[in-house]
């Protein structure tokens, strides 16, 4: 397969995909919903989709992923899925008893044209329970769009502004990142001594500890109270425009909380921006602890820069992550010559192109691309390093390139979801990953006489 990718680039006419760099909206919606406390995500469609989404998330997080399905059968495709959803709502609360049921659509229910709003309005929902919903047609956008749509839905349906004056509190929309990242962002905000609501927050849900007991609704997740209160915040920091800008704007529209869209805080510059935004909005000094972490990061960058300088990199994955990673590797002196995301969006190409132009680098940049294209690029202009999700391993093997796994999904390594790539600590971790990959390769390939102890 691996050498099945021809070097010669022939234009493809169909717009079909070979080896995707994205997946569908509902899985993003499911992931976002898992970040609510006591929530059972619900897939309104055939059972197959739900099964696939759970399986995929299970493989990435290595934790039980719960979600129910409307289990469409043929009738639903003719008469609509309203009855299935109503039955589902009844059954979900009777059997699984969550606080919240968060419904997302699938291709099928979207195509049939089920109107979630009216179905949910007319359904019997037990006292004190909440049914949220979001439209997530997979033929638009990607899993990131689905994450964004669900987060927006949650805000639109629950957030409230109840106070005259906003609270000294920040609403943080972390975007589609791992629970380890969410924990790190929270740690940073706490260190700044600022109250916050993080939405969604999958830490403590999909990285829950082993207790010898299976808990259907683990301790983590944003609570209903917190979601409501997100409308009282002084500001929203939307981390990553693709996953978080829309929901942040929704919160602005609904509750008048001004939104600031930042990059996902991967790398020194993006983390600086996060801290500066916090510090400015809440008039806080950056505490010494964080200064120290930053100093350590810079120290490490200088200690290791000669390993990185001028090395060519290919980066692919979800747009918010890739944008920040590109910025970060540039700051290390590397050359990101191929940058690609599967998610559609011109702004991705614009942002990356701008960075590359500023750095004087000519590169291939593409949104709505696939890994076949990336592989062809690499065949035509080889790189020293590949950064991306698990699916990069085929290219890495075919072209014998060192490979660093960052992003979603990672199906062939563990622990990644527990540790951050965001913040200064995350940046340090990325440097460790990159330099280990490069130096392991150097060791592997060195002739005896060039094999060095100190590197």
């Amino acid at each position: 397969m691996l050498d099945g990718t021809p070097k010669k680039i022939i234009e493809r006419h169909s717009g079909g995909v070979i080896n995707p760099a994205k997946t569908c909206q509902p899985i993003g919606a499911m992931y976002a919903a898992l970040g609510l406390h006591g929530c059972l995500p619900h897939s309104h469609g055939s059972q197959g989709c739900c099964s696939y989404h759970r399986m995929h998330l299970t493989r990435h997080f290595r934790d039980p992923i719960m979600a129910s399905s409307s289990s469409f059968t043929e009738g639903a495709s003719v008469f609509g899925g309203g009855a299935n959803l109503k039955t589902s709502i009844k059954n979900v609360f009777t059997i699984y008893n969550p606080d919240i049921m968060a419904v997302h659509t699938t291709c099928l229910s979207e195509t049939i044209g089920d109107d979630l709003n009216s179905i949910v309005q007319s359904a019997e929902i037990p006292e004190g329970k909440i049914v949220l919903y979001a439209n997530t047609p997979s033929y638009v956008g990607s899993h990131i769009t689905g994450f964004s749509n669900m987060t927006k839905g949650i805000i639109n349906q629950l957030a409230e502004s109840t106070l005259e004056e906003p609270k000294e509190q920040v609403t943080i929309l972390p975007g589609f990142v791992n629970p380890g990242d969410m924990r790190e962002i929270k740690r940073i905000v706490k260190k700044m001594d600022i109250d916050y609501v993080m939405l969604p927050d999958t830490s403590g849900v999909v990285d829950s500890p082993m207790t010898g007991e299976f808990v259907m609704y683990p301790k983590g997740g944003t609570t209903v109270e917190e979601i409501k209160d997100s409308g009282n915040s002084q500001i929203t920091l939307a981390l990553g425009s693709f996953a978080s800008a829309d929901p942040a704007n929704a919160l602005d529209k609904k509750c008048g909380v001004p939104a600031k869209v930042l990059h996902t805080p991967i790398g020194i510059k993006a983390t600086d921006s996060l801290l500066m935004a916090l510090s400015k909005s809440f008039v806080r000094e950056i505490p010494y602890d964080l200064e120290e972490e930053r100093g350590q990061l810079v120290d490490i960058m200088t200690d290791t820069h000669f390993h990185f300088h001028g090395k060519k990199v290919a980066i692919f994955g979800d747009p918010d992550i890739v944008i920040s990673l590109t910025e970060f590797v540039l700051s290390l002196g590397m050359k990101p010559v191929h940058v690609l995301t599967g998610t559609p969006g011109k702004s991705f190409e614009n942002e990356i192109n701008k960075m590359l132009t500023e750095a004087g680098i000519e590169g291939n940049v593409k949104a709505a691309g696939d890994l076949f294209t990336l592989h062809q690029w690499i065949k035509n202009l080889p790189v020293d390093l590949l950064i991306g999700n698990t699916y990069g391993k085929y290219i890495a093997r075919a072209e014998d390139i060192p490979f660093v796994r960052i992003g979603f999904p990672i199906l062939d390594r563990s622990v990644h979801s527990y540790l951050p790539v965001v913040g200064y600590k995350g940046a340090i971790r990325i440097i460790e990953m990159i330099s280990n990959a490069l130096l392991d390769r150097a060791d592997r390939d060195a002739k005896d006489e060039d094999f060095e102890l100190v590197m």
């Binding site: 691996l2 169909s14 079909g16 995909v17 099964s51 399986m55």
Partner: protein, 451 residues
């Protein structure tokens, strides 16, 4: 979990010795359950995917293709084309105006790029609704490119995984029936293996047994198979069927159309492996082969039993839960666990038939819980209730088992070692031992922070 015994589910669970002895199965999951069941497309795809030199093109939005990209560990000795993910990636305008044009172009693109002998086009739910005429498009493309392009009607909501198996079998039949040249006569002592997917090289193990005793393995459907090989299906004098759930339909058809008799066999566990080999020998009726097989059985057992006994000793008294796709596999596993001195206290399947549940009921001891399809909450209850030390299941069950402090074995796509034949029995014993007796379980209860 409160209110667990939801009315509709009661029909799908029973405990041996307590209630009546039949249970409802092969139904669709109820709306609102955390079901493990997969869809038609999934069923069709897993059956056909191991055909190594085919393009497997998924006609639908991206997800259906993303989730099935190389997830099944079926190995190939030749082509690797099947390990790519091809999708028409339907977008909004395709949903409105139809995806036929895009599909035609995608086929054109792929055929010019890869020159495959064969393309499968899978329909997904949405295609069933927008009404693209797959049949017509594939036919036209087939004429244009002069290769076989076979539509697989696998819209997800029209039934469950079993319907997908059926759709896959129909596709295979088309392939087999379309013979440009006259079919050569049947070859003696030559057989086809149906329903093995060469997960962790299992096809190759079975093949080696057969070759050692003088039987030729003509083609495996579909593990490590190719277009050319599948075309040769009719020359076999016997079909052996391993994963009956997916392939019995095809076996029936091949019997009807090509007069090839079939045998249901199972190479899971020593007992079933031996019985299967003997069954094959008897069916072929060749004296030499019968002798060879007895010799092979003797030799292999000499190697295997000491290994099994070593682990059996360590595993005595442990209890297992089994939750797998097909009923036939569940039956074999119950026997295999018995070989290891382990009692199966919970058994469930996703696609088991009435007859298979009957057999299961006969095999297990009093008090064993038997169920059809389940959800995590139920499964958890059973495991805790019955005190199972080990769960055999699929991808999504692993973390659940671990959270309960229960050992786990993947007997599905994620299996890491071959689990069939004599060597598979050894691997299985080793794997059971290494998970059940791992020291990590001790860390749960004897953490340094508790007294």
């Amino acid at each position: 979990m409160q209110g667990l015994a939801i009315q509709e589910r009661k029909e799908s669970i029973f405990t041996k010795g307590e209630q009546r002895n039949t249970l409802t199965c092969d139904t669709d999951s109820i709306s609102g359950s955390v079901s493990q069941r997969a869809c038609v497309y999934c069923g069709a795809r897993v059956v056909l995917n191991p055909i190594t030199d085919a393009i497997h093109l998924v006609h639908g939005p991206i997800g259906c293709a993303s989730y099935t990209w190389d997830i099944r560990g079926s190995l190939s000795s030749g082509e690797e084309l099947y390990r790519n993910s091809f999708s028409t990636d339907l977008r909004e305008q395709d949903i409105i105006f139809g995806g036929e044009k895009k599909l035609t172009q995608a086929i054109d693109d792929l055929v010019t790029k890869y020159h495959p002998p064969l393309v499968f086009v899978y329909s997904t739910c949405i295609v069933g609704v927008i009404g693209d005429d797959l049949e017509a498009i594939c036919k036209a493309a087939s004429l244009k490119h002069q290769i076989e392009i076979i539509p697989i009607e696998s819209s997800g909501f029209i039934g469950n995984k079993s319907a997908g198996y059926r759709a896959a079998c129909e596709g295979l039949l088309r392939l087999i029936k379309n013979q440009p040249n006259p079919i050569p006569p049947k070859e003696k002592n030559t057989l086809n293996l149906l329903g093995d997917f060469n997960l962790a090289a299992e096809t190759w193990i079975i093949k080696s047994y057969l070759e050692r005793v003088g039987i030729k393995l003509n083609v495996t459907l579909t593990g490590d198979s190719s277009y050319e090989q599948i075309k040769k299906t009719p020359i076999a004098s016997l079909n052996i069927v391993q994963c009956a759930g997916s392939m019995i339909y095809l076996a029936e058809k091949l019997k009807e159309e090509y007069d090839i008799p079939y045998l249901r066999i199972s190479f899971i566990g020593i007992e079933d492996t031996i019985a299967s080999l003997r069954k094959i020998a008897a069916a072929l009726g060749d004296e030499q082969i019968i002798k060879n097989i007895e010799k092979l059985i003797r030799k292999e057992q000499e190697k295997t039993w000491p290994v099994i006994d070593y682990y059996k000793h360590k595993l005595q008294g442990k209890k297992a839960a089994v939750y797998v796709g097909g009923g036939f596999k569940a039956i074999s596993l119950i026997k295999q666990f018995r070989e290891l001195g382990i009692e199966v206290v919970i058994v469930g399947t996703q696609t088991g038939s009435q007859a298979e549940y009957q057999t299961i009921g006969d095999l297990v001891q009093q008090g064993t819980v038997i169920f059809d399809d389940t959800n995590p909450a139920e499964l958890e209850n059973f495991i805790i209730d019955k005190g199972a030390d080990l769960l055999v299941g699929g991808v999504k069950d692993r973390p659940l088992a671990y959270k309960l402090g229960t050992a786990f074995i993947d007997h599905n796509h994620d299996r890491k070692h071959a689990l069939c034949g004599f060597v598979g029995a050894e691997n299985f014993a080793k794997e059971v031992y290494s998970t059940v007796c791992s020291p990590v379980w001790k860390a749960i209860r004897t953490g340094g922070m508790t007294e």
